[in-house]
Amino acid sequence: MSKLPIKCPSCEQHLNVSQLSCLHCDTLIAGSYPLPKLMQLPQEDQDFILQFVLHSGSLKKMALQMEISYPTMRNKLDDIIEKLQPKL
């Protein structure tokens, strides 16, 4: 499956969705929709959040399963939180 680009390769700004289509009836919707906050994160961060939810929010369990130390996991989560927080 091809990867959804989230940043403009030319100016590095966030991309908007300008076209959506229904695969069943070929309906086409055009407009300018910003990507949801979570989708604006790099794929690696999105995978981390998915794993976090699947582990019921337990960083300890995640750390044990992924064979990474707990503080490394917590730092990763803190970095994602920082990215998601609105810039003042």
């Binding site: 750390a63 130390s69 707990y70 503080p71």
Partner: protein, 197 residues
Amino acid sequence: MKTILFNPFKKYQENTLLIVGVLATFIGSFTAYSFYARFDGAIDLHFTSEINLWQPFIDNFINIASVFIVLFLLSKYQNKKTRAVDILNAVLISRIPYYLLPLLNINNTISGATEQMMTIAGDTININIEAIPMNALIIISLFALISFLALVWFIILLFNGYKIASNAKGNKQILFFALALILGEIITKAIILSIPY
């Protein structure tokens, strides 16, 4: 391999690191006693002619406690989520390279070479270069080189442990870390020199 040697804090859980760190401290202290070495400072090691079993143990306790307190306060100031166990593990594990150094004094090799050199260096007015024993010079130079490598390894381990424990980022952190380590050394030295044991 690189992770195990320089950044085990990234991969291993706190319990594993704590057990290894405590065991290494006991083994390292006993090795120091066996080979007449004193850890008389957070980044110091000296060989002595007389030693009691408890001395290297107390040396290490003071070294670990001083550096731990300074680094923990710095980490807490930077990141409130920092856990004490992670900083303690960084301090315990980072000292392992130092625990290997006393082994170099097998059969009093280093002490003997130092004594030989000191005899010549004692007469500062008439130093006879030809009288300097080559063997002693090579032994001391090699020991100095290995000690320097152990110091670098110690600093890398301690910094990586501190960085992971506190999620420290940026060049400013390196400066804070260096200042904390110097402060730890000063505190340790002051305690060790002021308490006779």
